[in-house]
Symmetry: C2
Subunit: 297 residues, 2 copies
Amino acid sequence: MTTVQFNLETYLRHSQMRVQAALDRYLPLQYPDNLYESMRYSLLGGGKRLRPILCLAACELSGGREEQAMPTACALEMVHTMSLIHDDLPAMDNDDYRRGMLTNHKKFGEDMAILAGDALLAYAFQLIAEETVGVRPEQLVKVLGRVGKAASGSGLVGGQVVDLASEGQDIDLGTLEYIHAHKTGALLEISVVSGAILAEANEETIQRLTRYSQCIGLAFQIVDDLLDITATQAELGKTAGKDIRDGKATYPRLLGEVQSRQRAEALVAEAIATLDVFKERARPLQSIASFILERRS
Amino acid sequence: MTTVQFNLETYLRHSQMRVQAALDRYLPLQYPDNLYESMRYSLLGGGKRLRPILCLAACELSGGREEQAMPTACALEMVHTMSLIHDDLPAMDNDDYRRGMLTNHKKFGEDMAILAGDALLAYAFQLIAEETVGVRPEQLVKVLGRVGKAASGSGLVGGQVVDLASEGQDIDLGTLEYIHAHKTGALLEISVVSGAILAEANEETIQRLTRYSQCIGLAFQIVDDLLDITATQAELGKTAGKDIRDGKATYPRLLGEVQSRQRAEALVAEAIATLDVFKERARPLQSIASFILERRS
């Protein structure tokens, strides 16, 4: 791998700004106002915009233009936001705060939070179908089908169901990997792959980007589990984080801390190597992969 | 209008059987089993299958084949089922029974009911995108976009939000028509229109079917409101039904019973006349329109 001469921080900030502007434009306030306020509250209220940025970067790597991918990029953020709103509900994780803000149902009521999530999910498909320009309908149908799959029982909902069923249970590594591959992995994968499909990338490119997305998805999750321990140790002086107190299966618990970190490093190295063939054009995605190991929160 | 020599009962029964078999085939039991059991419980547990049958009938009227429309027909039933599962939740209408069966959350828990609804909604789009055969991708993208719109804030969720906000309020006829045009009308309209789009119907056919669907959607709702009064009178010997006790705005309340029935009859007559130009091929849809006035439950 060549040395990366690339300022990731600037790249992420610029991408986030364009995504934020597009999200605001695609979901203007309209009647019924309280519904759209609720949808916009959770959609525009922050977040890393990882999924849209991966989509835009994969489209760029594949030689596509931003306008081809922006509606899908924003739609992926809407699907992600829907899953957060519904996961926070009292019947699920029952969280009052997210990203330092009241959760949707604490602010707008449970009924509105359920409906805002439903509307975001349905609108995501409308947005891809109606706002995408410069893409052949064949490619759009592929993207729409795969986004549907990633958001459904064979994607994030399936992962969430197994995660809920596993709470307080002893689960094996296979189940843990199923949860992560579905709960977070499926949407990350289609975020990357949709960018390539929209740009009409060839089969080899799609294969490489698929592998890349699987590696970073898993690495991201392992680092999350590791941060849960270290962040809590630093902040609270405790030897174990929230996951362990909740009896949640994590990589450090199943593999140990040292082996977990090694696994994450190996996955990131594989993600980067998989894209070496694209040379300069791979810099954004390769830098994002490196960043996963370095992040502190 | 010519005399209708057409056995609607047989037609509906046969269509329901084919739809039921397709729903069962498109959503087999799979891992995670409890999620798919919950989805199948509400999806396969009965109902008139009005939306799928309208879609299939409109496709047939437009000269299309059943295989072109069946995935969309089933997807529309999934969207409808999602809205019923979520509407029944404690945070919404808090209903324990539907169609004589326990509601989804009473049977599987609130968390599973929320997730089963989400999964049905997302899978609906996957199904249309991946299982439709013999339809050009241009047409599929149109259908996917319009189903998304009908299920979102500018469709059924928008209607549901205004309905919830109107409970116990004095609302005018304009608001009442907004609620029905969105809460039930939008999905009925795309049910009919999607069948025509999939069969590549010309613009005039689509216009006529759009008008037809708007007329029957509104007529259906007015009859619903009338039945709420008459059915309750017959069964309970009371002078007013559930809607009136709940302080709900209804057509009889705003227009009076006689004028409401006249309005429904005029709408059905218009729906039927709009399709006269299609002669024999309009029989199923025309008979369904007539049936709306005759139904007793």
